[in-house]
């Protein structure tokens, strides 16, 4: 149905997991559970650092090769921001369950799909980060992600933030970028047909969304309004989400 324009998140939604988060944005809804550090299986044991295990489960059907691929992308990026060196020989398990994803009204959905579903990556990534934060897993930094598409509409080029499946279908190129809270580029995945110049523009747009942080003291609402045009202010969203969580946890202080 109608895709939410602003991201929404709830932390600690799964009472029995160490950390959990439910995140919905641009029509995607993902729930994540984080457990760890816990005992690692023999095969995953690493004497120097924790093994980060990411599992992506589609809403319908069994996970296939493309889920494995998504997992490996997330795994390598998340291990970089988690302080894995603090927990040798242990396991940090992140399970991501896709609940809802926007449907393309112009195509009947197929269960088994081989091609990489780009637009879902930011949702998965963001949910994972939120869940890690809610679990209190020590991290080097936080991170934010977004998807951008370059669409040619009757000869006119537009860069679309958080594109809909329909827009992705007709897009010339699709990009997913993630930045750490230190403004470093953590993840960049692009496909389609583009040139360096276009990528630069995409980079700018994405960085604005991920790294532009409104001053902490003003309410998130107005921040969103001013950003509405270029898409949400992810970093500020992340911060205010965590601030309210912490405030709730430490109500007794």
């Amino acid at each position: 149905m109608t895709a939410t324009s602003e991201p929404e998140a709830a932390l600690g939604v799964l009472p029995r997991a160490d950390g959990s988060a439910k995140y919905s944005h641009a029509g995607y809804t993902v729930t994540a559970a984080v457990n760890g550090p816990i005992e690692a299986q023999r095969k995953d044991e690493n004497p120097y650092e924790a093994h980060v295990d990411v599992i992506v489960r589609p809403a319908a059907g069994v996970g296939g090769t493309r889920e494995r691929h998504l997992e490996s992308i997330l795994q390598s990026s998340l291990s970089h921001i988690i302080l894995i060196k603090n927990f040798p020989r242990s396991l940090i398990q992140i399970v991501l369950q896709v609940e809802d994803s926007p449907e393309n009204d112009y195509v009947n959905t197929k269960l088994v799909q081989g091609n990489l579903n780009f637009a879902i990556m930011p949702a998965l990534f963001q949910t994972a980060v939120l869940a890690l934060l809610s679990a209190g897993v020590p991290m080097r930094a936080t991170a934010t992600a977004t998807a951008v598409a370059v669409v040619f509409h009757d000869g006119v080029k537009r860069t679309v933030v958080d594109p809909s499946p329909r827009e992705i279908e007709i897009a010339r190129s699709v990009h997913v970028l993630a930045f750490t809270s230190h403004d470093e580029l953590l993840l960049a995945e692009s496909e389609g047909d583009f040139i360096v110049k276009e990528w630069d523009e995409v980079y700018e747009t994405a960085k604005k969304i991920c790294c532009h942080s409104a001053p902490a003291d003003d309410g998130m609402q107005m921040a969103l309004d001013e950003e509405a045009a270029a898409g949400p202010d992810m970093r500020h969203f992340l911060r205010s989400t965590m601030e309210s969580k912490v405030a709730a946890d430490l109500y007794w202080k």
């Binding site: 149905m1 799964l14 997991a17 809804t29 599992i55 319908a60 059907g61 369950q97 609940e99 449907e103």
Partner: protein
């Protein structure tokens, strides 16, 4: 694989002592359910059911396929239950545990074998094309009584689900996208629900409904009774465990019926609510679709 730790002796002892005094740790009556809550997704066929800290998400989906050769006139209907590490780190993927097998069998018997869904209506061209309807059960959080929660979620998802509309003209089958024609609901015959009893005590004389995970770990036996609101038993399974007086079981079945009636009224209300909500949204969706073209 790290295995689920057994509760300590103190816990085992205490839970049983308490039950003997008709006490439960969360202050419930023995035959009282935790609050049951259902959330229906924006998408058709997404149902999220919670019982206290137990939470199950069911997602129904349909795709065109070829019928099984031995049943050319029937569509395909499957219920997939895979317990992921999200349920508990003790569960590993592609390694069905006993819990998982029994759960899927129960859903199978309750929903599928009781013909809740008319599979013949899923067939489009005999022996050539039919719908394959699939429900994926995702256990997000496990604090006991998965079965009842899962069953409720599955039934809700299927009742809420709509599949693409189709038409036959001159032997040509056309499947319409959501943009072309509003999807249609499944032909649904009756709504069965599971009610699971846990037994305690030497003679299994204490019967408890909707046990939490801790309570399940110390029970001596269990019995799941599936009924629909018309008082039709769809399935009963007491698979071993401490013997229980036949009379007690009869009482259980009677109580179960009242519970089932509650479930089905609750579900009907929820579906009605959702339908009302969509009527407004429906128009908007229409418009935005127009703009896209």
């Amino acid at each position: 694989m790290p295995r689920e730790a057994e509760p300590s002796l103190n816990e085992k002892q205490f839970v049983i002592q308490a039950l003997q005094e008709n006490l439960r740790l969360d202050g419930r009556e023995l035959e009282q359910y935790r609050p049951l809550e259902l959330t229906l997704g924006d998408q058709y066929g997404v149902a999220d059911a919670t019982l206290g800290k137990t939470r199950v998400l069911a997602k129904a989906s349909a795709e065109l396929t070829v019928p099984y050769t031995d049943r050319p006139l029937d569509g395909i209907f499957t219920i997939a239950t895979e317990l992921s590490p999200m349920t508990s780190p003790a569960f590993e993927l592609n390694r069905p545990t006993e819990t998982e097998v029994l759960l899927s069998r129960l859903l199978e018997k309750t929903v599928r074998r009781s013909n809740a869904l008319d599979t013949e209506s899923l067939c489009l061209i005999a022996g050539q094309k039919c719908w394959s309807v699939r429900v994926d059960v995702h256990v997000l959080s496990h604090d006991g009584n998965l079965i009842d929660a899962a069953c409720f979620a599955v039934v809700s998802a299927l009742r809420h689900f709509k599949k693409p509309d189709t038409s036959m003209e001159g032997g040509v089958l056309t499947v319409y996208t959501a943009a072309e024609r509003e999807p249609v609901p499944l032909s649904w015959l009756h709504s069965p629900f599971c009610v699971t009893w846990s037994f305690y005590g030497e003679q299994g004389e204490i019967a408890v409904l909707d046990a939490t995970w801790l309570e399940e770990q110390v029970r001596v036996g269990s019995c799941t009774i599936s009924l629909n609101r018309h008082g039709e038993i769809c399935q009963i399974s007491k698979l071993g465990g401490t013997p229980v007086e036949a009379v007690a079981l009869l009482q259980c079945s009677a109580v179960s019926l009242t519970k089932v009636k509650e479930f089905s009224t609750y579900l009907d209300e929820k579906l009605a609510e959702d339908a009302k909500r969509r009527n407004k949204g429906g128009l908007l969706a229409e418009l935005s679709a127009e703009n896209d073209r």
